[in-house]
Structure formats: structure tokens, C-alpha cells
């Protein structure tokens, strides 16, 4: 099966670590993905917030190109991108009039037979747990990992059709495969504030702070995510949150692909772990100590 890859804008910019690490682990597992040619921005939260038709038309172009190129399945590692692609696919299925307008505008057809996968869906459903388990060369036993899902991977459930919207477990299962211990905590699907990071920083810090402090209070050594927006809020804003609430957090935030890569024995540099704002040195050291 030909697998299309839709990186989205964040993975080419502020969240380059996500792209570096996911391409590295796919390469090591021998899984080939091909970038959708000339892909465009999905419109993210901005489009659906103020223009519904644009929010369907922008992702629809990517879906139509992928279909024209003979792909049946898309990997969209950014949670916002996969959410918008799935939403567009859903709208195109339910609204024939809008679909006609959009396919006319694009001068391309779209059959809605595309399988759209977020990173977790792809790892569990396309790659498979057995394959991942067989790749683990350096088990992370003893490391406590809080999986943070946020909103866009699981909600709205009728469109995402993925995991449980209130208590998802897929990322925790992947954490278990690495030998690490999943941390049970309360905020794994609470919103981080997402797109309002620049426009409402105080609100975003209040929301993100709750996630980080709760994960820390439940003994997490590290938080893992599968969304560049979540990563930015939890990682880039963390120092500021510590200052605001006058309490140290010091919790490194890794992409799930980086955690898997570490358990595969890949050098942290090749996973771009040094690209994060909160240094992961302490976690890397703990992994080294645990593996002795």
C-alpha cells in the first residue's frame, strides 16, 4: 500500500523535532512514506473559526491530490492537521452541494475513500504493535511517562473515530511497548489552549499549567505528546508558567516518536531531542542509568 505523508506547516518550523524523529523511526522500521506533492496548509483552527467553506476546501485540495496520486492512506502526524483532514472528509461526505462547489473550484475529483491517520493511529494500526515491540533494543524500564493527548486526536469522536474521547489509551500502550511505565493522571485530555497561545497567553498558561503540574504530581519524569500545538504550549511556555505560578516544573516534553526512538536505541541527537526548550538531559541520563 502506498502511504502518503502530510507533514503540515508546524513540522517544517517550530516542531521540526517531530518530523526528524518520526522519519527516523519509520526509516529504521523500513516503512516508506511519500510526501504529498505541493501540499498546502490545512487552514488549522483559523479557517474553521471564521470560514467553514474554506476550512473544508483547503484540506480537500490535499486529499484530492493524494487520491489523484494513487494513495489510499495518509499519515498526518500533526493532531490539528489530521483533525482538519478528517473533518473535511466528513463534510465532503455529508454535504453534496459543498462537495460539488469544492471539486469544481479545484478542478479535481475526490471519492472520500482515503484512510486518514494521526500518528498514534498510524503506529498502532498501520505499523502494528508487534513490529514496534520487536524494534525495542533499549527498554526504558523504570521511566515514568505521562501521555498527554489533548483535544484534537480524539474529539469530536463521531468524526475522529479514534480511541476513547474521555480516557484514551493508545499512547499509553505505545509507552508500555517501550518498557516505560505509563503514569495515570487527570489531565490527559484537557485542552492546552491550543491556537490561543499568542492571543490569550494567560489563559493558555493557566490550562497548560494544570496539565504539567498534575503530571508532575503523579510522578512523571517526562510528558509525551503527538501534537505540535500541545508541544509548543507545554515546552515553549513552561519556563514562563514556572515564573507565573512560582513553582518549578522542569518536565521535559517529548514527541511519542522520540520516546520510541530512544527505546529503539537511536542516538538522541538523531531524534532532534536537543531541539526542545526544556532540556531532556535529566531524562536521557536516567535512561542511561536504568539500562545499566
Amino acid at each position: 500500500m502506498k502511504l502518503a505523508y502530510y507533514p503540515g506547516c508546524s513540522l517544517k518550523g517550530t516542531s521540526f523535532e517531530y518530523e526528524v524523529s518520526l522519519l527516523k523511526i519509520l526509516e529504521i522500521m523500513g516503512i516508506e512514506v511519500k510526501e504529498i506533492p505541493d501540499w498546502n496548509c490545512c487552514g488549522a483552527s483559523a479557517a474553521h473559526s471564521i470560514n467553514h467553506n474554506l476550512a473544508v476546501a483547503l484540506p480537500a485540495r490535499n486529499l484530492a491530490i493524494a487520491e489523484k496520486d494513487g494513495f489510499e492512506s495518509i499519515l498526518a502526524p500533526c493532531a490539528a492537521c489530521s483533525n482538519r483532514l478528517k473533518n473535511a472528509d466528513y463534510e465532503l461526505k455529508r454535504d453534496d452541494i459543498l462537495k460539488k462547489k469544492i471539486t469544481n473550484s479545484l478542478e479535481m475529483s475526490y471519492d472520500s475513500e482515503m484512510s486518514i491517520n494521526n500518528m498514534l493511529e498510524f503506529l498502532i494500526g498501520v505499523v502494528g504493535k508487534d513490529k514496534i515491540k520487536s524494534m525495542v533494543k533499549k527498554p526504558l524500564a523504570g521511566l515514568k511517562v505521562a501521555s498527554y493527548y489533548g483535544c484534537l486526536l480524539v474529539r469530536p469522536p463521531k468524526v475522529m473515530q479514534f480511541d476513547d474521547p474521555e480516557n484514551p489509551v493508545t499512547m499509553d500502550e505505545l509507552v508500555s511497548l517501550t518498557g516505560a511505565e505509563p503514569v495515570d493522571y487527570s489531565y490527559k485530555t484537557e485542552c492546552c489552549g491550543a491556537i490561543n497561545s499568542l492571543s490569550k497567553p494567560d489563559v493558555v498558561m493557566a490550562l497548560t499549567g494544570k496539565v504539567l503540574y498534575d503530571a508532575k504530581n503523579h510522578g512523571a519524569d517526562v510528558v509525551v505528546v503527538a501534537c505540535p500545538l500541545c508541544h509548543s504550549n507545554l515546552d515553549v511556555r513552561q519556563k514562563e508558567i514556572e515564573r507565573k505560578y512560582e513553582e518549578k516544573i522542569g518536565l521535559p516534553v517529548l514527541f511519542i516518536t522520540e520516546l520510541l526512538g530512544l527505546s529503539f536505541g537511536i542516538n538522541p541527537k538523531d531524534l532532534a531531542i536537543d531541539g526542545h526548550m526544556v532540556a531532556a538531559d535529566r531524562v536521557l541520563k536516567k535512561i542511561e542509568e536504568l539500562s545499566k
Binding site: 517550530t14 498546502n40 471564521i50 474554506l54
Partner: protein
Amino acid sequence: MKTVLNEQNRRNFVAQVESMLHDKLSKCYQCGKCSAGCPVNFEMDYTPNQIIKMTELGMEDTVLNSKTIWLCVSCNTCSTRCPKGFEVTGIMDVLREIAERKGITSKTEKEVQMFHEVFLENVKSHGRIFELELVGKYKLKTKHLFRDMFLAPKMLEKGKLKMHGETISNLNQIAKIFKDFE
């Protein structure tokens, strides 16, 4: 608060919202589950269930000028938990879009609104987001030039801020999408 409303205007507004929403406002029986679980309820002037009821009552000006519609982060917790399966998150999108079309600028939350507008302009120009340009233009527009600037040096050092954006080849197609749907 103005509560006596023109019935025809009320019907027109409800019909417009419902057709954009693909859902019926009367589904909501005001249990308040949406508002209880909303992560940003502490900042709102009206709770989500109040917005639904006020829309149904035709209080167009109040809902279109509310802080709530711009504070909603579309996390979909409300829609997921709604016992009636009502599109609570969807109504926020619909009301924002109507406000935007009517040229209503939010008095208190204009930064949120501007961010969305600047974001889409960026997509229109390049087909993809060029983050540095997006942030720069947003800052110029809102005049918050120095907010968050302390993050920039470390982000640069870490390689998070790219100096050049990518522009797609078929920008004409993006222009056409915007022409047809904007």
C-alpha cells in the same frame, strides 16, 4: 438587556444559524453539561448553554458581540459530552463566522479574531504558514510588539524559528480557493 425582539428577525437568525450548523437549537434542554466542562468558562461573559439559548431567542447582537465566541478554543469537550449530541462547538464556529461576515470586530477579544485573520492571509500568500512572518504581522497589527519576544533568542538557538518560509508551486489554485470561498 433588551429582551423584546422582533419575531421575524428572530426566526431569520435562528434559520441562518441552524442551516450553517446542520443542527436544531431546540435540541438543547439547558442541562449545562457543556458549560461545566468547558476549560475556558472562567473567562467567558456568557456560558455556552446561555449562548445557545440566547441564539434561540434571537439575541443576535448580544451573542455576536460576546467574548465567549472568541474565547472558545474548539476543544470539543462540550459537544463530546452533550447528552443530546448538539453541536455546541459548532455553534461557536457559526457565530464567529456570522460576526466576521457582518464586519463585527470583537471589542474585548479582537486579538483572537485578528490572529485568525492574519493566519488566513498567510495561507493565502504562500499556501503554507511562514511562522516568523505570521507572528511579525500579528504583532504589528495588535501592537503587542514585545510580548513573547523573550522567547525568541532561545527558539532561534534551538532552530525552531526558520528564516525562510515555503511557498507552494500551484499558488494559483490557492488563490482560486480563496476567491471562491472567502
